[in-house]
């Protein structure tokens, strides 16, 4: 099989500089994903973030951890189309992302409880008017 897949652990502070390097090397933004650890109903200890980039079947993922409710910078100044992923992160996991170019402010998905994938994080999307 052609191509390769790697996961690179980094620090949160290196995120923007590494993303800028990928943009300069003409990688495309593949996806942004988040996993709550531990899974299930237990309270969140950390959230594992994965930012993936791809070019010519070389697939690289940047991996770092944040605490529940910790703020992360947005990568939309570099990759303009990433606002969809970051709004989804905010609505489903309650991660405040600073500086998104099109910010839906919690109304991207219509959910009946705030931050359903990370319940009890106390950082809700603040739109109980949408679905009661």
């Amino acid at each position: 099989m052609k191509g390769s897949k790697t996961i690179i652990p980094i620090q949160k502070s290196e995120l923007i500089s590494r993303v800028q390097k990928y943009y300069d090397q003409e990688f495309r933004m593949a996806q942004i994903c988040c996993v709550k650890e531990p899974a299930g109903k237990e309270p969140t200890q950390k959230l594992e973030m994965s930012y993936s980039f791809e070019k010519d079947h070389v697939f690289e993922t940047l991996r770092f951890d944040v605490a529940s409710g910790e703020e992360i910078p947005s990568i939309t100044p570099v990759y303009n189309g990433a606002y969809l992923y970051e709004n989804e992160l905010h609505d489903l996991y309650g991660i405040p992302v600073k500086g998104i170019n099109i910010d839906f402010k919690g109304t991207f998905y219509k959910v009946s409880i705030p931050t359903p994938f990370n319940p009890g994080c106390g950082n809700g999307c603040g739109d109980s008017k949408v679905n009661g």
């Binding site: 099989m1 996806q31 991207f108």
Partner: protein, 365 residues
């Protein structure tokens, strides 16, 4: 005399969520200046079901049924991607016959999806007769799928470790005959899409996306291939695509007509791939036994009819997974579609929105 500066007035027109051309609800706020669009703001989230949360309640062997039901048009490849991810985590070796059968069903799924899109595109520019002819051809494919798997739309034939149903030799020969006859009908339908003057008049030059924009905005699938970039995830050779030979259909113009031509070329490719797979299919087992629990994580990339889909599965050693995430191709194509909408006419908006083949149930899961 002083020059009067006239600032044009801007209006905002909503498009959707209910619109005759849209198969699923999708909303745009179109900012217009005298019939030309200068900006568009998308709103999705009308049918968010939160299917990814079901990993907490369904065991990993049952989660295949949930993954298949993310979308009706792209159903089989969702199930296939999930199974491939679990098999990679657990190091399961799927038998060759099962892999060939999976590829045959994937290509059948691609044929039915492209015929569906051709019908919807014909409906969007007003050619109702062609719409019905395309969907009539699609019925033959759905009958083949029902005969081999049991369901017209939701196949239900993929499971972790292999496939659940077999296609014996007589059925395979008969299906190849049916598909050969269908290919002749499809050729006469597709000739209208490619050569008819009224179709060309509606599609040529509409919705232009340059090569640099397509690469920069992360477009995938026929949207990318119609702008001159020859990129297809099937060329990495996942499953048994290494043993089959195909060319990647590419066009240079980057407008709606080029995207239509790319999808028509992919239709013919799929017929050829099914014939090759049916010739080379070996005898053997249909599945391997699954023991143990998945522990680990992986990314899987497959080629859906709409583009590249990325699956992320993470297991933690129990029978419930930690996370299952599907990044579907329409999610990646939305920024490219917004770029294409800027600068086009209001009357061309239905054509342009349909040209990325929006599958909103996949986008929102």
């Amino acid at each position: 005399m002083e020059q009067q500066i006239i600032t044009p007035k801007r209006t905002i027109i909503p498009f959707g969520p209910q619109h005759p051309v849209l198969p699923e609800p999708l909303h745009f706020d179109l900012v217009l200046e005298d019939e030309k669009i200068i900006d568009a703001i998308p709103t999705i989230g009308y049918i968010h079901r939160g299917l990814e949360m079901l990993v907490e309640k369904r065991e990993f062997t049952e989660m295949v049924f949930v993954a298949e039901r993310i979308c009706g048009i792209c159903s089989f490849i969702h199930g296939l991607g999930y199974c491939q991810a679990i098999e990679e985590i657990m190091n399961l070796e799927v038998p060759k016959r099962a892999q060939y059968l999976r590829v045959i069903w994937s290509e059948l799924s691609r044929i039915h999806s492209h015929l569906l899109w051709l019908g919807l595109a014909a409906d969007a520019f007003g050619f109702e007769n062609l719409f019905n002819q395309s969907w009539r051809a699609r019925e033959t494919v759905l009958d083949v799928i029902e005969e081999t798997t049991g369901g017209r739309v939701i196949f239900g034939s993929c499971k972790v470790g292999g496939v659940r149903k077999d296609i014996d030799k007589d059925t395979m020969t008969r299906i190849l005959g049916v598909l050969a006859k269908l290919e002749k009908d499809v050729r006469s339908i597709c000739n209208v899409f490619i050569k008819d003057n009224s179709v060309k008049h509606r599609l040529c030059g509409v919705g232009y996306l340059s090569t640099e924009d397509a690469k920069r905005l992360g477009a995938v699938g026929p949207m990318l291939r119609a702008s001159g970039v020859s990129y297809d995830v099937r060329s990495t050779g996942y499953s048994i695509y290494d043993d089959l030979s195909f060319e990647i259909p590419t066009e240079k113009d980057g407008d709606c007509y080029a995207r239509c031509a790319v999808r028509v070329a992919e239709l013919y490719q799929s017929f050829s791939l099914i014939r090759q797979a049916a010739e080379k299919i070996p005898d053997g087992e249909l599945s391997v036994k699954v023991t143990g629990m998945p522990n680990g994580e992986t990314f899987q990339r497959l080629e859906q009819p709409r583009g590249e889909v990325i699956y992320y599965v993470k297991g933690n050693g129990t029978k419930f997974l930690s996370r299952f995430r599907a990044r579907t191709p329409t999610f990646a194509n939305i920024p490219a579609m917004i770029q294409v909408l800027k600068g086009s006419d209001l009357a061309d908006v239905p054509n342009i929105v349909l040209t990325i083949d929006p599958c909103i149930s996949c986008t929102e899961r």
